[in-house]
C-alpha cells in the first residue's frame, strides 16, 4: 500500500475512534445533567404515579449501559431516536435544521476564507506598513467585540436604518436562492467578521515564516515581483498551517453559530439545540452533540489530510 493511502486510512480510523469516544462522553454528560424529562413534560402538578409510568415508558429506569448500547446501536444505523417532548423522529426534523445551518456556514465560508487569505497575502506584501496595520487592527477589533453585539449593531444600521436586508433571517424551501441570500446577508456578515481575524493572521504568520527561506531569496534574485514571490513561492509552502486554521474556523461556523442563530432567529441547528436543552429533551441534545462532534472531527480530519497531501515529499516519493 502506498504511504499516502496508509496515512489516509490511519487518519480515518483515528477519526472514527475519536467519534466513538465522544459518544461515550456525550452520553455520560447528558446522564449526569440535573433535571427530569418526565417532570418537565408533565409539569409541577403531575402525580407520582403518572411520573413513574412515564419514566418506565420512556425507558429512563433501565441501567445506563443498556441505554447507551441501544442508543449507539441506533446511531450506527442512522436512527437518532425520537424527541421525548414532541414524539417526532429526530433525524427528520434535524435534517432540515442541519441543511439550514450548513447553508449559512457555506456562504459565510465562501466569503470569509478567500477574503481572509487575500488579506493575509496583502498584509505580507505591505508588511509593517499602513495596509498591514489597518488590516490587523480592523480584524482584531471585529474578533474582540462579542458577536451578538456586532449582530445587533449591524441589524440596527443595515436593516433598520438603511433597510437593505431583513433583520430576521427566516428562510424556507419556497424561497428562491436570491431571496434566501438576501435573508441571510446579515448573519453571514457577522460570521465573516468573527472568523476573519483568526484565519487572516494565521495566513500572514505562516507566509512570513516561509519568507525567511533561501528559496525566497532565489526568487528575489530572479527579479520576481513581490506578489509573484508571495503567491507562487511562499503560499504553496504554507498551505498546511493555513488549512488547519481554516478548517478550525469552518467547524466553528457549523458548531459555534448558536448565538448568531438566536440573534437573527435563524431556523438552524443552534436554535433547535437551545430549545431542547431548556426542555431537557435528552435524545435531541445527544443527537445534536454527535452531529457537531462529527462535523468537527471530519473537518479537522480533512485539514490533516490536506496538510499531508500538501507535502511534496509524500506526494512524490523518491
Amino acid at each position: 500500500m502506498s504511504p499516502i493511502l496508509k496515512l489516509l486510512a490511519q487518519r480515518i480510523a483515528l477519526g472514527l475512534l475519536l467519534l466513538f469516544l465522544v459518544s461515550i462522553l456525550i452520553f455520560a454528560g447528558t446522564i449526569i445533567l440535573p433535571g427530569d424529562v418526565a417532570q418537565s413534560i408533565l409539569g409541577q402538578s403531575a402525580t407520582p404515579e403518572a411520573l413513574a409510568n412515564l419514566r418506565a415508558e420512556l425507558g429512563l429506569n433501565d441501567p445506563p449501559l443498556q441505554r447507551y448500547l441501544s442508543w449507539l446501536g441506533g446511531l450506527v444505523q442512522g436512527d437518532l431516536g425520537t424527541a421525548l417532548t414532541s414524539g417526532q423522529d429526530i433525524a427528520s426534523s434535524l435534517g432540515n435544521r442541519l441543511k439550514n445551518t450548513l447553508f449559512l456556514a457555506f456562504w459565510a465560508a465562501i466569503i470569509s476564507v478567500p477574503l481572509a487569505i487575500f488579506l493575509g497575502l496583502l498584509a505580507v506584501r505591505y508588511r509593517d506598513r499602513w495596509p498591514d496595520k489597518l488590516i490587523s487592527a480592523v480584524t482584531l477589533a471585529s474578533i474582540s467585540i462579542p458577536e451578538f453585539l456586532i449582530g445587533y449593531v449591524l441589524m440596527y444600521i443595515v436593516a433598520v436604518k438603511l433597510r437593505w436586508a431583513p433583520s430576521v433571517a427566516m428562510i424556507n424551501d419556497s424561497m428562491s436562492l436570491g431571496q434566501k441570500l438576501n435573508s441571510i446577508a446579515l448573519p453571514v456578515a457577522v460570521l465573516t467578521l468573527v472568523v476573519l481575524a483568526h484565519m487572516m493572521r494565521m495566513t500572514r504568520a505562516a507566509i512570513l515564516n516561509v519568507m525567511q527561506s533561501a528559496y525566497i531569496e532565489t526568487a528575489e534574485l530572479k527579479g520576481m515581483s513581490m506578489f509573484v514571490i508571495i503567491w507562487r513561492h511562499a503560499f504553496p509552502n504554507s498551505i498546511a498551517p493555513i488549512v488547519n486554521v481554516v478548517m478550525l474556523n469552518l467547524a466553528y461556523l457549523v458548531v459555534g453559530v448558536v448565538v448568531v442563530e438566536v440573534v437573527f432567529t435563524y431556523p438552524g441547528m443552534g436554535q433547535y439545540l437551545v430549545d431542547h436543552v431548556s426542555k431537557r429533551d435528552i435524545p435531541v441534545v445527544q443527537a445534536c452533540g454527535m452531529i457537531f462532534a462529527a462535523v468537527y472531527i471530519g473537518l479537522n480530519m480533512i485539514a490533516d489530510v490536506v496538510s499531508i497531501l500538501a507535502n511534496p515529499r509524500l506526494r512524490h516519493p523518491k
Binding site: S213, A214, Y215, A219, H233
Partner: protein, 545 residues
C-alpha cells in the same frame, strides 16, 4: 575591444548589528572594493568568512541580504550604474543579465515546485524566451551539465534528486536566461569531494561553452584556482591582493595570501601502537528504528591511548552513526564495544557516570552545542561540578587552567558564546570536554564549519592537548587534509563499511582500493590545471578498463 561587463568602484557596504546587551549599531563590512570583469572572464573572490565576498557578489545584483545595505560606491553592469537604477530596472537585471547560484541548492529550490518550473521561471517571466523555448534550452543545459535523464529530470521535485545533481540544476537555472554574468556563491562547498569534482567540471565547461562571465566566490583557494582567470583576495572587507590566478597561486605578494596558499602546514608523525587499545569496536552492526537496512555493517576498529583514529568518509557513509553507537545513543544490533578494559553497556541508560566522564564528545556546530544564556565559565564549570564536585575557588582555579590550555585566558570567563568567534567557540567546547578528564574525545567534524586558518589553529591545539593530557581522539571528518594532519590510524568508510583501515602511512600509500583512490584523487590541489589532469586521468583509466 570589449566593453567592461562589470565595473565596481569603491564599493562600501554596511550592516546593522545587534550585539547582546547593547544598542544596535551600524558597521561597515566592505570598505571600498574596486575591480573589473570583462565579458567571458571568471573572477574568483576569495577570503575567509566575514571577508565580505558573498556580500560583494550580491551587491553586483544590487541586493543586500538581511540588514545589509550598500552605502557607497558604484556598480556598473553593461554601462549602467545599477545602484542608481529603479526597482523595476533592477528586477529586469536580476534573473536576466545577472543570475545567482547559491551554496545550498537544496535550500534554494522551492520544495513545492518542479525543478523545470523554477529553472525557466526567470526566462519566461522576464519575457526572454517563450515557455517552450525555455524548456528546450533547460533540457539542453541539463544535458550539458551531465545530469542523468535530461529530458525528464525537470519534472522531478527538488527532494527527488541528489545534492550534487541539484547544484547542477541550480547552475542550469542561472544559465537558462542567457545572462552576461553569473554569481557563483560557494557552489561546491556543501558537496562531498567526489561530487564536488563533477560539479566543478560541469560548471567550468558550462562557463566555457556559453561564454558567460562569472564571479566565483569561495573560501577554497584550490577550487578557485581551477576555474578563475583572475583572483581577488579579501580580508575583513578589504582588498588584500588582486591579480591573475597564476600570480596569486605561484607568486603571492601579500603575507595573508601566502598564508592562504600554504595552509595545512601541520606535520604530524604517526605514532605506533604501544599498549592495549583504550577502545575496541567489535563487529558492530546498527540500523535506525523504523528502517530496514543497516547503516553500519560489521565495523571493527581500535583506538590506542593518546592516539588519533580518523574515521573518514562522505556524507551517508555511516561515520557519525558510528559515533552515536559508541556514545550509546544508538544501541547496535550486534557487536560489542570494549572501553578501558571493560565492556560498555550498549544503551546509554546502562552506563555508569564514570563511563560517561571518560568518553566525551565535541561537535561540528559549536554554536548549537552551547547554551547561549550561559557564560563561558558556567559552561566549562558544569562538568567540573558534575563529575568532580568542585565548588567555589577550586572550581574557578580549574576553569582558569582550562582556559589557559585552550589559549584563551581568564578574561573570557564571563563572556557569552555570542561574543566569541567561531574558532573561540570551538575552543570552549574543547575545554568543556577536557574538564571531564576523559580517556577519549570523539570529535565529529569539529573543524568543518571553520575557516582554513582557524581550523588549522584548532587542529594544532588538539595535537598539543593530546601530548599533555594523553587523551585519545576518534576524529570523524570528510576532509582528507585534516586526516593527514592529525591521524595516527585511519578508517575509510563507504556505505556503512570500513573499506580500508590501518596506520596512516599504510592507508595513504598505494596500492589503493578503488574507493580510496577516488577519494584521494578528488581532493583539489593548489595548482593550475589540476582539474583537467584528474579528469584526463579518469578518462584514460575508464578507457583502459
Amino acid at each position: 575591444m570589449s566593453e567592461t561587463l562589470l565595473k565596481v568602484r569603491d564599493l562600501k557596504i554596511g550592516a546593522t548589528i545587534y550585539p547582546p546587551g547593547e544598542k544596535p549599531r551600524d558597521i561597515e563590512i566592505v570598505h571600498g572594493v574596486s575591480f573589473d570583469l570583462e565579458p567571458g572572464k571568471v573572477l574568483g573572490l576569495i577570503g575567509e568568512s566575514g571577508a565580505g565576498k558573498s556580500t560583494i557578489g550580491l551587491a553586483s545584483m544590487a541586493y543586500g541580504r538581511g540588514g545589509v545595505e550598500i552605502t557607497g560606491g558604484e556598480v556598473w553592469v553593461n554601462g549602467r550604474d545599477i545602484l542608481k537604477s529603479g526597482l523595476n530596472d533592477v528586477r529586469k537585471l536580476r534573473g536576466g543579465e545577472v543570475t545567482y547560484v547559491s551554496q545550498s541548492a537544496a535550500a534554494s529550490f522551492n520544495p513545492a515546485k518542479q525543478i523545470m518550473d523554477q529553472v525557466i521561471e526567470a526566462s519566461v517571466r522576464h519575457g526572454k524566451f517563450s515557455k517552450k523555448d525555455a524548456e528546450a534550452r533547460a533540457v539542453e543545459l541539463f544535458r550539458k551539465l551531465g545530469l542523468p535523464d535530461p529530458e525528464n529530470i525537470g519534472n522531478r521535485y527538488p527532494h527527488q534528486v541528489s545534492g550534487g545533481q541539484l547544484q547542477r540544476c541550480m547552475t542550469a537555472l542561472a544559465l537558462c536566461p542567457e545572462p552576461d554574468l553569473v554569481v557563483f556563491d560557494e557552489p561546491t562547498t556543501a558537496l562531498d569531494v567526489t561530487t564536488q569534482i563533477d560539479v566543478l567540471k560541469a560548471i567550468k565547461e558550462a562557463i566555457r561553452d556559453t561564454g558567460v562571465a562569472a564571479l566565483y566566490i569561495t573560501h577554497d583557494l584550490a577550487v578557485v584556482a581551477q576555474v578563475s582567470d583572475d583572483i581577488l583576495v579579501l580580508k575583513m572587507g578589504d582588498m588584500v591582493e588582486y591579480g591573475s590566478v597564476d600570480q596569486i597561486i605561484n607568486a603571492p605578494k601579500e603575507d595573508y595570501t601566502r598564508a592562504l596558499v600554504s595552509v595545512r602546514s601541520i606535520d604530524h608523525e604517526e605514532k605506533t601502537a604501544t599498549s592495549e587499545p583504550v577502545l575496541k569496536v567489535e563487529g558492530v552492526t546498527a540500523r535506525y528504528r523504523g528502517t530496514n537496512f543497516d547503516v553500519l555493517k560489521n565495523i571493527n576498529v581500535e583506538l590506542h591511548p593518546g592516539q588519533t583514529l580518523a574515521v573518514v568518509g562522505e556524507s551517508g557513509s555511516g561515520k557519525s552513526t558510528l559515533a552515536r553507537v559508541i556514545t550509546g545513543l544508538l544501541p547496535p544490533r550486534a557487536g560489542n564495544i570494549h572501553f578501558a578494559g571493560r565492556d560498555l553497556s550498549a544503551a546509554l541508560g546502562g552506563r555508569s557516570r564514570e563511563d560517561l566522564r571518560e568518553l566525551q564528545m565535541i561537535y561540528q556546530m559549536a554554536d548549537t552545542a552551547m547554551n547561549p544564556r550561559q557564560t563561558v565559565g558556567t559552561i566549562i564549570g558544569r562538568p567540573l561540578e558534575f563529575y568532580f564536585g568542585l565548588r567555589g575557588s577550586e572550581k574557578r582555579k580549574r576553569i582558569v587552567e582550562l582556559l589557559d590550555e585552550i589559549e584563551m585566558g581568564e578574561a573570557f570567563m564571563d563572556r557569552y558564546p555570542a561574543e566569541l568567534s567561531g574558532g573561540q567557540k570551538q575552543r570552549v567546547c574543547i575545554a568543556r570536554s577536557l574538564a571531564a578528564k576523559p580517556k577519549i574525545i570523539i570529535c565529529d567534524e569539529v573543524t568543518s564549519a571553520l575557516d582554513p586558518l582557524v581550523a588549522d589553529g584548532i587542529l594544532k591545539l588538539l595535537l598539543d592537548l593530546q601530548k599533555v593530557e594523553d587523551v585519545a581522539y576518534l576524529f570523524i571528518t570528510h576532509d582528507l587534509a585534516t586526516v593527514k594532519a592529525i591521524a595516527d590510524s585511519i578508517a575509510v568508510m563507504y556505505q556503512g563499511e570500513v573499506v580500508r583501515y590501518g596506520g596512516k602511512t599504510d592507508v595513504l600509500s598505494p596500492p589503493f582500493d578503488d574507493y580510496t583512490d577516488l577519494l584521494l584523487s578528488s581532493v583539489p590541489e593548489m595548482k593550475l590545471g589540476w582539474l583537467e589532469e584528474v579528469i584526463a586521468n579518469r578518462k584514460m583509466e575508464s578507457a583502459g578498463n
